[in-house]
């Protein structure tokens, strides 16, 4: 009985569009929103599929076991006896990312704690935009900053340091990542309800004790996702390590030496003109797949860590 369409709108001087058009418009909007949501998922799926597909070709020639155990990586350097061990690239990646995290996590956390718990609003409004600019500096600028400023500066303290080294690249990368850590961590600390702060103050805490013993642990779930994001950025960062870390794929654990990261290798290959379909060309997909696996693992670890240590409020 209500099925009869409205003849005219309830408001005078307005006219409802016919029901058919109204419904169509609504459907259209919903599907546009759905597609927007789907696009990120689809992109991710496409990337993984492409990497898997090309890597599969690669692993037909090179055994998976050799890929993950061989300590030499010479797919291009050595014509006669190329070696395909990812470990040298992995070590370079881990060392540079490790240095970057050693810089960015403490500085970013302390900065977030300062901004959220100590800074006067005026000071915060001044510092936050500057911190955020750090994240906007092009990475190629950071790369040359590492090579031309930080490395020479470090060499005055560490005379043995080479022109190309993972230490300087990692440190500058760390500086670049600081705003990611501080911004997300600050949001997480701001979200901690103020009645917890008041309870801590009422117990006789100093402001630092409130920040460190109550607010930080209460916000650890959000903060750990900031750390994971930082780690993902560090592992995936390309330009700085390409410019400042040297390109020699070798097993390294000492950040003072030079080394190649997975990303730096991919860039190096992509800059050359390798014919499609060759084994050398496919190496970059195997390397890329390794990167994705690392990032995925980081995210999963982060998820569980956050769940395990979450303090619910």
């Amino acid at each position: 009985m209500i099925d009869k369409p409205l003849e005219r709108s309830v408001l005078p001087h307005t006219k409802l569009p016919a029901r058919f058009w109204r419904k169509l418009g609504e459907r259209l909007i919903v599907s546009v929103l759905f597609l927007a949501g789907l696009s990120s998922v689809a992109t991710m799926a496409a990337i993984v599929l492409l990497l898997l597909w090309e890597s599969l070709e690669f692993f037909r020639v090179v055994s998976f076991w050799e890929f993950i155990t061989s300590t030499e990586w010479t797919p291009i350097l050595s014509r006669d006896n190329p070696q395909y061990g990812i470990l040298p690239l992995l070590s370079g990646t881990l060392v540079s990312a490790g240095v970057a995290l050693l810089v960015s996590i403490p500085i970013g956390t302390v900065a977030a704690m300062y901004l959220s718990e100590f800074a006067l609003p005026r000071v915060r409004d001044f510092i936050k935009p500057i911190l955020e600019i750090l994240a906007g500096v092009p990475t190629v600028v950071y790369g040359y900053f590492a090579l031309l400023v930080v490395t020479p500066a470090l060499q005055t303290i560490l005379p043995d340091l080479g022109t190309f080294n993972l230490l300087s690249a990692g440190m500058v990368m760390g500086v670049m990542i600081v705003p990611f850590v501080s911004s997300i961590s600050e949001d997480a600390m701001q979200a901690v309800p103020s009645n917890l702060r008041e309870a801590a103050h009422a117990s006789g805490s100093t402001r630092f004790q409130v920040a460190w013993r109550v607010v930080y642990p209460a916000a650890i779930s959000g903060i750990s996702s900031a750390y994971i994001l930082a780690a993902s950025r560090a592992v995936g960062e390309t330009m700085i390590v390409s410019i400042a870390a040297g390109g020699l794929p070798q097993m390294v654990w000492n950040p003072m030496e030079q080394g190649a990261t997975i990303t730096a290798f991919i860039v190096q290959v992509a800059k050359g003109d390798l014919p499609r379909g060759t084994l050398e060309y496919q190496t970059i997909f195997a390397a890329g797949l390794t990167l994705i696996v690392i990032t995925l693992a980081l995210n999963i670890i982060g998820h569980f860590l956050a769940k395990r240590y979450r303090e619910i409020y």
């Binding site: 006067l120 309800p193 009645n195 917890l196 702060r197 008041e198 309870a199 801590a200 103050h201 009422a202 117990s203 006789g204 805490s205 100093t206 004790q209 013993r213 109550v214 642990p217 209460a218 303090e311 619910i312 409020y313």
Partner: protein, 268 residues
Amino acid sequence: MVDESQTSEPVIAVKSGVELKAQAKDLNFFYGDNRVLKNVNLPVPDRKVTALIGPSGCGKTTLLRCFNRMHDLYPGNRYEGEIRLDALNILSRQVDPIEVRMRVGMVFQRPNPFPKSIYENVAYSLRVRGRIRRSILDEYVEGALTRAALWSEVKDRLQEPAFTLSGGQQQRLCIARALVSEPELLLLDEPTSALDPIATDSIENLLNELKSQVSILIVTHSMQQAARFSDYTAFMYLGKMLEFGNTTNLFAKPTNPKTEDYLSGRVG
């Protein structure tokens, strides 16, 4: 409207011979330019329960939060006058608010346990006072939980998160957290307003037992609660202290007409 000329200055004093733990003297408090407390006088007798009552917005919570300098946490707040804790004027610039809060415990309107274990919630108040031996810590935590009438309910689950407790248990945990550092004065800001009647009853019984050990100043919106277990009652109205006295006397024959209106339910 309050006609200033008709309201004579109330006499706020206790009988001689009653020892005071704390006392507000001609206290004014400002949020920015807004004067919220007007020449407030309040004696807090030693090891008794003093209840602060009055309609919403009369300034009773604001007054309570002066006693541990909570207002210092936010910019733009200003005190004038004195609050004596024993002989010390805790509003003096030379006094560190943290030292005040180490002597004065506080329990809030809504239970606000830290997102930590039951044990760590109570231990917190001691940990912030410096390093302390584990065995001593255990002893104090057990003592505080016992005094807060919670020990028997939680002794087998001390490492569980505080959020697994019920609302009433959480509030008793907050009381234990305040008691563990053996405060001289315990401030409670409507501690039962978020709780059901049974939990409220258990908190009231608990406070009744505590008053032999610690002076208690409690804000309550419930006149019945004030009548049930406080020794002294103070009635506030529009930022002023209108009446203070022995609870029985104040409820039986209030001297100020405003108090009478409030108690009989005509105001507030």
